[in-house]
């Protein structure tokens, strides 16, 4: 491939990624943490869940549920 064509291909690749970013379709914006960082509903739900877990810990008679296999135990 000639240098000019290689450069044009690199240019088109950058433009392609910028198009994805412009449309919020870039893979890096689709990760769990990226969606969490942008979604206030997600953040509020997490806060509620954290508070609920904290309240569970204060129940004297309650016993905590085991986390699903492969998950870390909840920390509050």
């Amino acid at each position: 491939m000639s240098q000019t064509r290689r450069k044009e291909a690199a240019k088109q690749a950058v433009l392609g990624e910028l198009e994805l970013l412009a449309g919020d379709r870039h893979p890096r914006n689709q990760t769990l943490i990226a969606r969490f960082a942008r979604c206030t509903d997600y953040q509020n739900a997490t806060k509620l869940l954290t508070e609920a877990l904290g309240a569970t810990g204060r129940w004297q008679k309650g016993s905590p549920l085991s986390p699903p296999p492969g998950w870390l135990p909840p920390l509050t």
């Binding site: 450069k7 690199a10 240019k11 690749a13 950058v14 433009l15 990624e17 910028l18 198009e19 970013l21 412009a22 870039h26 890096r28 914006n29 990760t31 943490i33 990226a34 960082a37 942008r38």
Partner: protein, 345 residues
């Protein structure tokens, strides 16, 4: 790092040596499969639009994209850095301490600023961080020996070429300050108690003459040969030519509104005749209040990131500004005694 120290561990606890890395290195603990860095884009639509336009115009280099970690903001800044380097960045840094800013508003405290600008109105501004310094006296003496009208011609062209883009603080500013001080104290009972800098006396007579025209200067240049004066005139003609390659953009109504409460731009260069003269004295005094109110940028290039021609024009003008500053640095490099005032070699 911890050579010669015996690790001590309490029973059933891992010793520090088991937990810490060995050798002169710092290892960041990580969970397997969990990336150390997360990057996502939000609120940078102006950067995305500008990056796209810069790539289409071939002003941005595709090879910078991975180096900017695929971040549009970092990519645009890299492109500007590359542009400065290609237009004499190294030479500029020898004599000037300036910075460029890309933003969507000129008044950062305005309540009209958009939270997520779309790039239709962006500004590239240039401001000084510190003021460069040049002592003109020895240069004027060299030029006067070569031709009696060269000192006035030299300073007129040098100051004009730079003042188109950035502010020089020189004897004209000092004279204005003296006039203002005299107005302030006029009629006061203790008028004689004030010490007014004698700017008039520090201005060499040779600089007050009538400057040569460009045509006359070229004729004089032929007679100078490869002398110090000849080389100075070459560099000066180069500077004057480059400075005129672009026109300073007019302030729009919106820009005027945003800048209505600002101070004049900060000087990028202080030009004195002799170290510690009255011009320098005025500058030192005036410098104490220059930052009382936000200063206007030295130069403001407005553009619309959605319009390729607007972006091209702004970058072209920015290139001319950089080239002008680099040419001015080269002129200063040739001035006798200027080696003492290098900012960054």
């Amino acid at each position: 790092m911890a050579k010669g120290i015996t690790p001590v561990a309490a029973a059933r606890l891992a010793s520090a040596a088991d937990l810490m890395g060995t050798g002169d290195q710092l290892a960041i603990p990580r969970l397997e499969g969990v990336p150390l860095e997360h990057l996502y884009s939000a609120g940078d639509s102006a950067f995305i639009v500008l990056a796209r336009t810069l790539v289409r115009l071939d002003l941005a280099a595709p090879e910078d994209w991975p180096l900017a970690h695929r971040d549009p903001g970092a990519y645009v800044l890299r492109t500007i850095e590359r542009w400065i380097a290609a237009h004499g960045g190294g030479a500029i840094r020898r004599r000037f301490d300036l910075y460029a800013t890309l933003g969507s508003n000129l008044d950062e405290y305005s309540d009209k600023n958009e939270e997520n600008p779309d790039g239709t109105q962006l500004y590239l501004t240039v401001d000084p961080d510190r003021c460069g310094f040049v002592v003109l006296g020895p240069t004027l003496e060299v030029l006067e020996k070569a031709h009696p009208r060269l000192p006035a011609t030299f300073y007129s062209l040098f100051a004009h070429a730079l003042n188109v883009w950035v502010r020089i603080y020189d004897f004209h500013d000092a004279e204005d300050r003296v006039t203002m001080l005299k107005d302030w104290i006029e009629g006061e009972a203790d008028e004689d108690q004030y010490e007014i800098p004698d700017v008039e006396r520090c201005i060499p007579a040779c600089i007050k003459g009538h400057p040569l025209s460009r045509r006359e200067l070229r004729e004089v240049r032929v007679q100078l040969g490869e002398t110090q004066a000849g080389l100075l005139v070459d560099a000066l003609l180069d500077l004057a030519g480059i400075s005129g390659h672009a026109k300073r953009p007019e302030l729009t109504d919106r820009m005027r509104e945003e800048l209505c409460d600002t101070n004049p731009p900060l000087p990028s260069l202080l030009a004195v005749f002799v170290e510690g003269d009255a011009v320098e004295g005025c500058f030192d005094e005036e410098g104490q209040t220059m930052m009382e109110v936000t200063p206007e940028p030295s130069v403001t290039l407005p553009f619309n990131a959605h319009q390729p021609e607007s972006v091209r024009q702004a970058f072209r003008t920015f290139g001319v500004i950089c080239n002008t500053l680099a040419a001015a640095s080269r002129v200063i490099d040739l001035m006798p005694g200027s080696e003492r005032w290098v900012i960054q070699s």
